[in-house]
């Protein structure tokens, strides 16, 4: 995508980027080996793959309509929602991407999503709840994040990875019924089948974990690209604090308890390390922390 000059490019976190590509590579290697093993064991994996691929392609091309049907999103015209349209158009123009379709979901849950197979067929949807709760600045930053999913072609990346997960889950079901009802005409016939079944279960879970990791990396990526699109990482961090974290994260504890505890528990040098290891650091908080770094970079040209 040709990014216009007006958009301020932000530094990528090399750790996140390299881990994302490593995850994608692992997914490729995992399923490559899996396919090979299945073929060697005589499992008709090609046949199953064709069926699943057909379904996946159908889903991929219909994604915007399927998502609209399942969420009850209603496409709105420029006359119906002029402000929302204007806001999305400004962002899309800024980043040099085509104007997506715009939809609204009647729901008090504050949420937003993007879908569609490519930027020319994209849809950005928001709930009435998010429109009510966010300020203009926060909403604009959230829409930048959704447009970033479109610009980064996350629907395609995740459709391909999910295809493999669906394939293994299909095979798992197939093996299961085969073992229950299958004919056992030859004594040795079920051993490779059992191995194939075990391998499939393993690959299913490993693959699922990898795809989840990839989803998280794409989410960080969308925060990053979204910050470039809106030029406002702080607005997105504020929106996340407001809707995803709520106020519950501001603690009940007194600061002085930390000092007393620290005197007995950890050597001071260990505190940061131990605190990181044992804290339940929610991904939302990690996203906010990264966005605040980008905010500082944008404001002062450095990261804190």
């Amino acid at each position: 995508m040709n990014t216009p000059q007006s958009v301020r490019k932000l530094k990528r976190d090399p750790g996140i980027v390299s881990r994302m590509y490593l995850t994608m590579l692992l997914i490729g290697v995992l399923y490559g080996i899996f396919g090979y093993v299945m073929l060697r064991l005589g499992v008709p994996v090609t046949f199953v793959a064709v069926i699943v691929l057909g379904l996946a392609i159908f889903q991929y091309f219909m994604s915007d309509r399927l998502v609209m049907m399942s969420t009850g999103a209603r496409e709105v015209s420029e006359e119906e929602a002029p402000n929302l349209h204007a806001m999305i158009r400004e962002l899309a123009d800024r980043y040099g991407m085509p104007m997506p379709k715009v939809a609204i979901i009647e729901s008090s849950m504050p949420n937003a999503f993007a879908t569609g197979r490519n930027p020319d067929n994209a849809l950005v949807a928001v709930t009435t709840g998010i429109l009510q709760r966010l300020t203009r600045r926060e909403l604009r930053a959230v829409l930048g994040h959704e447009l970033a999913h479109v610009a980064n072609r996350d629907m395609k990346v995740l459709a391909i990875s999910n295809f493999f997960v669906t394939l293994t889950s299909f095979l798992m079901t197939m093996f299961f019924f085969n073992m229950l009802f299958g004919r056992r005409d030859s004594g040795g016939g079920s051993a490779p089948l059992l191995i194939a079944y075990m391998v499939t279960i393993l690959v299913y879970f490993v693959g699922k974990l990898l795809v989840l990791a990839l989803t998280r990396y794409r989410e960080y990526g969308a925060d990053h690209t979204g910050s470039e699109i809106s030029g406002d990482p702080g607005g997105l961090a504020d929106a996340l604090e407001k809707i995803a974290m709520g106020m519950d994260y501001i603690p009940d504890e007194d600061l002085r308890r930390l000092q007393t505890a620290q005197a007995f528990l950890f050597a001071p040098a260990l505190r940061g390390f131990a605190a990181n290891m044992f804290s339940t650091h929610p991904p939302i908080e990690e996203r906010i922390a990264r966005l605040r770094d980008l905010e500082a970079e944008m404001r002062h040209g450095y990261r804190n």
């Binding site: 530094k11 390299s18 702080g234 106020m247 501001i250 600061l255 906010i288 922390a289 990261r303």
Partner: protein, 203 residues
């Protein structure tokens, strides 16, 4: 090389971060918002008789705050709170002097073996409602809030207690205030879970 060396970290000094509170005041002024600091501020630390400087802090404070031509002549008192912590409470109508005295006192404690005992520096402010929330009508009153600077995090966060007991705080106002002070230039703690309270501030 930078690709796998990871991202560059700039570590701001305590003074850079602590003094961002005056950058914040200027930031609000530039936007036409009235923000007024109060006369009192404090440093809270865990007292330890084994540290000679701490044991004789009162004598040192007079020297630190009153001797020399550039002395701020900031008023001071020492108080213990109900949590077993000690406070050096400073009083000065000139906020720049108050800020630099707070830094000087905490720095002296740090330089004399008490760095690990330092918990926080606390400033007290009145913000206009409009400065906190742009949707509020201007001239509709003030929000009284503390800004807590945590030495271990090297950053500030707002604290708006609603009572004396742990947990009693106005989280909604704190969150909005956090956005406002950050935009105005205050080095603000990013992680909300680190916004630990200080109930019963003794000034």
């Amino acid at each position: 090389m930078g690709w796998f060396l990871g991202r560059r970290k700039t570590t701001d000094t305590t003074w850079d971060s602590m003094s961002s509170v005056s950058r914040m005041i200027n930031g609000f002024k530039r936007d036409g918002e009235a923000v007024s600091p109060r006369r009192n501020a404090g440093v809270v630390y865990r007292h330890d008789d084994g540290i000679p400087f701490m044991a004789s802090l009162p004598e040192h404070l007079d020297g630190i705050l009153y001797d020399g031509p550039s002395a701020t002549k900031t008023g001071w008192e020492i108080k213990d709170d109900d949590h077993g912590m000690r406070w050096a409470i400073l009083n000065d109508g000139n906020f720049q002097d108050l800020l630099s005295s707070i830094f000087t006192v905490s720095n002296a404690i740090k330089m004399n073996g008490g760095g690990q005992n330092l918990l926080a520096a606390v400033f007290e402010f009145d913000f206009t409602n409009h400065a906190v929330n742009h949707h509020a009508a201007s001239g509709s009153g003030f929000v009284h809030a503390y800004l807590i600077y945590r030495f271990d995090r090297n950053a500030y966060y707002p604290f708006v207690p609603t009572g004396e007991n742990a947990g009693e705080r106005d989280r909604e106002t704190e969150r909005m205030l956090g956005t406002a002070v950050r935009s105005a230039g205050l080095k603000t703690e990013n992680s909300l879970t680190e916004w630990l309270g200080l109930w019963g501030i003794p000034f």
